[in-house]
């Protein structure tokens, strides 16, 4: 009996995107069914709230300070540890189809292997180890890449341009003439990064990722162990699902999200209680990174724009769920489903209107940090799993050890977190005591650094000295009493002991950065 691991990721998806997590708009029956047959994590958090650092933690099982990918644009070294490589050495067939993003996209000098693999049209490239053995790139013997648009050399972009050249211009132009994230508005409300996309659903990247994954899966033998990472680029902006699907959710029918503060004065008051990067960005006075349009000012965001962005995201989430349903159908047709462990998650969240903001950045709150994570263990491996909810905070850093566990491998020496627990009692046994999240951004002299610990129902963020901070400010929230994180307790003397204990715990357990900080070689 073969062991199979189906690892499904989305990009920039909130916890509340799924029906099983309380979402009430997007219909996600396929992913919800994983929760009915497995473990749903109620508070899963990333090591970082942007793509490249978070994804690097998934594959290495390491925190940002250890793997060194401290921001988008910093390449994960080719010889970094990879759980996919461990599985490949054990004989697993390995593939990653969709958005990888361990290396930057912007690459005029053709320096990065993901782009080279796509340009050369090869399945992978082999790298030589110190002992003379060779391994495929990051352990994947089959790689096909996509991102949110049809620019650049990646496979999806090539496919669109070769087969449907008119399709390339149907997608939203995510980058403007200054190579910045585009602020151009569209749709019905003029919301940034929204576009009515006339592209047929069959051309859209969500469909392409599922099609290519199914193509690779169809070529596999029944007796082979398999690790297949299917990585959807959505619901990350741009928000441009095919127009044919807009009927699914009418933005005019949507309630505003619970995290949206309708009264501008109250919104600004709450933002003013947080460290300075919040209000400074909201008012367009300080842009610290490339994660949002540099020319867009959040305080111009209207309630209708929030509704329309949310509608687009809900539609994209439904399309992902249906695409996953097609993949699951193939597993069932092949008779593989009972032998397959499925893990579903994302790399980070999205504001989607919370606090009057969109996109992401140096803001360690649930909007960006609380993520969907579901593990449906293979029935043939562990028997029927009683649906379980784990409330203990867990980190995506645990994924690498979890994949090793499923494959029957010992926990790799390089990982920095135990495998995911099957329940809260096991979370204690496995010492899931805290989750650590790091942020560092340097934008031509503008520096923001945050370090966050999530423990129990508390989230505590320290600012480090930088362009706006002197290292004395921070955020402290009790999620039990303040799920929207509107009440910053950092300066509240009643909670000083808790704050200091959390900080001491965090500094005791954050790994020290290894070596010289690596250069940022691209904006994304």
């Amino acid at each position: 009996m073969a062991r199979r691991i189906l690892f499904i990721t989305t990009d920039q998806q909130r916890f509340d995107a799924l029906g099983c997590n309380g979402g009430v708009v997007a219909r996600t029956p396929v992913v919800d069914s994983f929760a009915k047959e497995g473990i749903r994590y109620n508070r899963a958090l990333p090591s970082n709230v942007v793509c490249m650092p978070s994804r690097s933690s998934m594959i290495t099982g390491q925190h940002v300070s250890t793997h060194g990918v401290w921001m988008n644009g910093v390449t994960l070294p080719v010889d970094a540890p990879s759980i996919a490589a461990d599985l490949w050495r054990k004989g697993y067939r390995t593939s990653l189809i969709g958005k990888a993003h361990f290396e930057p996209f912007l690459d005029p000098f053709a320096l990065f292997t993901e782009n080279t693999i796509a340009t050369q049209g090869v399945e992978t490239v082999m790298h030589k180890n110190a002992d003379g053995t060779e391994e495929p790139h990051r352990g994947f013997e089959h790689l096909e890449f996509a991102t949110h648009n049809a620019m650049g050399p990646l496979h999806y972009a090539q496919w669109i341009r070769a087969n449907f050249p008119e399709g390339a211009d149907m997608l939203y132009p995510v980058i403007n003439r200054k190579l910045q994230v585009n602020e151009m508005g569209g749709g019905d409300t003029g919301a940034p990064q929204v576009k009515h996309n006339p592209m047929p659903l069959e051309w859209y990247h969500t469909s392409w990722v599922a099609d290519r994954a199914m193509n690779w899966l169809s070529s596999q033998n029944d007796e082979d162990d398999m690790f297949c990472w299917v990585s959807f680029p959505d619901p990350h902006h741009a928000w441009d699902p095919p127009m044919s699907e807009l009927h699914r959710v009418n933005w005019r029918d949507l309630d505003l999200p619970a995290g949206y503060i309708s009264d501008p004065a109250e919104r600004e008051r709450i933002l003013s209680t947080k460290p300075a990067q919040w209000l400074a960005w909201y008012n367009g006075e300080f842009v610290s990174n490339f994660e949002a349009p540099a020319q867009w000012v959040p305080n111009t965001l209207t309630a209708d724009q929030v509704r329309e962005v949310n509608a687009m995201v809900h539609i994209e989430n439904e399309l992902i769920d249906e695409a996953i349903g097609r993949i699951v159908g193939l597993f069932k047709e092949r008779g593989w489903w009972d032998d397959t462990d499925v893990i579903f998650t994302t790399d980070h969240g999205e504001f989607q209107g919370d606090f009057g903001l969109l996109f992401k950045g140096p803001y360690h709150v649930d909007s960006l940090m609380r993520l969907p994570l579901i593990w449906r263990p293979a029935p043939s491996r562990v028997g029927t799993t009683t649906p379980t909810v784990v409330n203990t905070p867990v980190s995506l850093v645990s994924l690498a050890a979890t994949f090793a566990h499923i494959a029957g491998l010992p926990q790799p020496a390089y990982v920095e977190a135990a495998r995911l627990p099957l329940n809260d009692a096991e979370a204690v046994e496995l010492k899931h005591e805290r989750v650590l999240t790091e942020w560092d951004s340097v934008l031509f002299g503008k520096i923001v650094s945050l370090r966050t610990i999530t423990r129990g129902s508390w989230v505590c963020t320290a600012t480090l000295p930088g362009s706006l901070h002197d290292g004395t400010d921070g955020e402290l929230y009790n999620l039990d009493n303040d799920p929207l994180q509107h009440h910053n307790l950092w300066h509240n003397s009643e909670h000083r002991a808790m704050r200091d204990d959390l900080l001491a715990d965090m500094w005791d357990h954050l790994p020290e950065r290894k070596g010289v900080r690596r250069e940022c070689d691209a904006p994304v």
Binding site: F109, F444, D521
Partner: protein, 135 residues
């Protein structure tokens, strides 16, 4: 304006290193590009992606061991100044410092990435003095 800097500390004399990288027409020998063409004070470089940059050679100073150039006539790049210096540390070691200022600022990171590759090439070619470590 985006501004980046890369450097390499090399186990070779400044004169030896400048002899190699102080030739405007030899950029492809150490930088991740595929071709270099020089005509007078103009230079054209071809990137591996096929992109060609036209450049003005602004300064080749064999005393300072400084080279300066600017990408010009480019629909995307509206302002650019690139500089590299070879600075003597000891009679047998030197530091190469490459810096660029460019608009749009995002492109500074891409040029910095290429310059970083160039620095790694020079480190392999000449070696790194003991106690300098590697990056």
């Amino acid at each position: 304006m985006g501004s980046v800097r890369r450097h390499a500390i090399l186990n070779a004399s400044a004169a030896l290193v400048w002899e190699f990288i102080g030739r405007p027409g030899a950029l492809h020998e150490w930088f991740p590009i595929t071709a270099t063409r020089v005509e007078g004070d103009k230079r054209w470089i071809t990137l591996p992606t096929g992109i060609v940059f036209e450049e003005d050679i602004l300064l080749v100073d064999h005393d300072l061991r400084r080279f300066q150039y600017a990408i010009t006539n480019n629909p995307l790049i509206t302002s650019h100044l690139g500089t590299y210096d070879v600075i003597e540390l000891t009679p047998t070691t030197c530091i190469v410092v490459y810096s660029t200022n460019v608009e749009p600022e995002v492109f500074a990171l891409a040029i910095g990435a290429a310059a970083g590759e160039g620095m790694r090439f020079l480190e392999k070619k000449y070696g790194i003095p003991k106690n300098e470590g590697t990056r």
